[in-house]
Subunit: 395 residues, 2 copies
């Protein structure tokens, strides 16, 4: 690819322009707001001059419901040989392209999973897509040339391509992005009606839970309406859960909390929530290594000193368990140690006078590394899919 056009020089379009210009591609910037295109050009994202002939690929970087019209218009004008978009819904533009373009084989839907809280060209960054997933939704009729142009775009932007059916993509983002946005907005909307004292009790938990509600309301209304059926399906089920919980809480409130109604429904929802979270937690590192057991004396603060020593060797406090032996009335602390520091830690604990039991440590042939960061000390087993899953999504 030698030439690219970006239609719509907001955050995403301008970031693509910056990334591609850096790779030596000639980027033509188009926006109905001349000032936005000029700003993108002044940042180094490309030129505002029209191309002299069709470019290799045009990226339509406009809101979801505007994609079809802009695509048809630029296609009619002969702007490019291949086309893609960056909207966060894919079935609607794909359907509209199939119906509206004389030759839909030149279009491949795309959705880079990257974004920032600020919008507009001034917020753009050349490295916005570095290591991020970039969904592509080719159909059986997509031309190979078009697919390859888009794959090259994704590669040059430093992203990881992820081919997906457009309907499956829309169901997935309804769950992972669109419904969460609605839920954050529903909660944030309540904050307009609280007692003034409530503001002094606001914490990071609430801020995190509502942060995504800060997105541009018009853009998000466009996204939600473009993916209405999948989003409504998720929210309908959520509303059913909420209705059940409300019945339980209102029962409790009526009984003046002296009885115990509603426990089942409340615990059930909270447990399902905690389980659902496991699906989206960053890759859990599998920790395997020798287990050590230390017997503690009666000196106050002895356990704190032990924790200081073991955490210096890559053990997290959440990996430590304590137990009191009822017969001997002695306390023991047990923990799994990263293999590379186990020998060192065992010696250190011995030097400090603790009685240590536990699996014999295999001698290592490599010299022991100096611990720098806890996670470096463990055998991390992270699946590639989990790595992708831990990428921040588009907002």
């Amino acid at each position: 690819m030698r030439t690219l056009a970006v239609v719509g020089t907001g955050l995403i379009g301008t970031s693509i322009g910056l990334a591609m210009s850096r790779r030596g591609i000639t980027v033509h910037l188009v926006d109905r707001d001349t000032s936005a295109a000029r700003t993108a050009a002044a940042l180094g994202a490309g030129v505002t001059a029209d191309p002299t002939g069709p470019v290799d690929l045009a990226v339509i970087a406009v809101p979801p419901r505007a994609v079809a019209d802009v695509l048809a218009e630029q296609h009619a004008r002969g702007l490019a040989r291949s086309y893609t978009d960056v909207a966060s819904v894919k079935a609607l533009p794909t359907r509209q392209a199939d119906a509206g373009l004389p030759d839909p084989s030149c279009y491949v839907g795309g959705h880079p999973m990257a974004g920032r809280e600020q919008s507009g060209p001034l917020a753009a960054r050349a490295d916005l897509f570095d290591g991020r997933a970039w969904v592509l939704t080719p159909s059986p009729r997509t031309a190979q040339t078009a697919l390859n142009h888009v794959l090259e775009l994704v590669a040059l932007c430093g992203a990881v391509p992820l081919v997906m059916d457009s309907e499956v993509h829309d169901q997935a983002v309804a769950l992972t992005s669109h419904a969460p946005h609605v839920v954050a907005s529903l909660m944030a909307a309540r904050l307009q009606h609280g007692p003034p004292e409530a503001l002094r009790l606001v914490g990071q938990g609430l801020r995190d839970a509502t942060r995504i509600a800060g997105g541009d309301p018009r853009l998000w209304a466009d996204i939600l309406r473009s993916n209405a059926a999948p989003v409504a399906r998720v929210l309908r089920e959520l509303a059913d859960d909420l209705a059940e919980l409300l019945t339980a809480l209102e029962d409790v409130a009526r009984d003046d909390a002296s009885q115990d109604p509603g426990t089942g429904a409340v615990v059930d929802l909270l447990e399902r929530g905690a389980e659902g979270l496991h699906a989206v937690r960053p890759a859990r590192v599998r920790r395997s290594g020798p287990t050590l057991r230390v017997t503690l004396g009666e000196t106050p603060g002895e356990l704190a000193r032990l924790l200081d020593t073991v955490t210096d060797h890559g053990v997290g406090t959440e990996d430590v368990t304590t137990r009191v032996d009822p017969v001997q009335d002695r306390m023991t602390a047990e923990f799994t140690v990263p293999p590379v520091t186990a020998g060192q830690l065992r010696r250190r604990l011995g030097e400090q006078g603790w009685q240590v039991e536990g699996a014999a440590v295999r001698p290592t042939r490599r010299p022991l590394p100096q611990p720098s960061h806890v996670d470096d000390l463990w055998d991390q087993e992270v699946l590639p899919s989990q790595r992708v899953a831990s990428l921040p999504g588009v907002s």
Copy 2:
């Protein structure tokens, strides 16, 4: 205060023990789980031996619905002269203390706004309450001695006392903590039912929005049921908003998204959400300083170089606006500059060849500081209440 008892040596109780022991107070640790009390003692949070007479203050650090029974039991035993608790609901324990204690004047409800995602004594930290708000809910019948004991506890833990009516506290936390927990759980529970592809599209937005759903389901069920009426009130209003949004989205879905129904309801909710967010945003720093305007030439990337220079002088990219003069066809960039670097920045831009216009900069008498952190450069006007409001809340 010389002596303290902590009943319940979990995260909060043990952290209080650590903080108070460090201040030279004798702390007696009580827990029905001997191993938890022994663990807290081994960390240096106090001693497991019973006090020889009544201590000055006992902190009942057990789940909300257990407070009344434990308080009555310890009071009957004569454990302390004054009592407080740390539960995240206040009306229920206050009502129960009034009804159940022979002398309720010795009890002051308390709620430190601090927590961690881990629980149990091993997660405890002496500095857990540093700078955090700690709500106290004395009633007209509270004895001055009891109030002063609790104020001393809060001060020695490094927290900021905040006196509040117990009912107002419960309405406030229903809105800022309990309802958000339910909403996060409702969303997280949906994640059990997504297409497998969805997991690859999970981003930081979803993780932040659902993070608090990771709390202990049994403890949280206890909290929600103890504050059922205020939580139900918030959630009922939220459910009404959700029902309206669902109707709009289902209308859009039925019309196959070709028409434009539902825009009003969808935009309305999103706008109310964005407005509600302003209430909980960390204190917005009021930025006042001279405004500078720079005229740009035609060189690509010129704006990027300008941004590099101005951001080095404490200007954020969100504070920059660009404009194209339609008559002269020239682009200008305008931004407000922190007063202390304005003169320096103006000279620097001049040296780099830019044409700068804007308010004359008053000469400073102090030598210009070297910028270290952007926020240090501004006249920050943060109200004390906003500072408290930006503290992480309990979870």
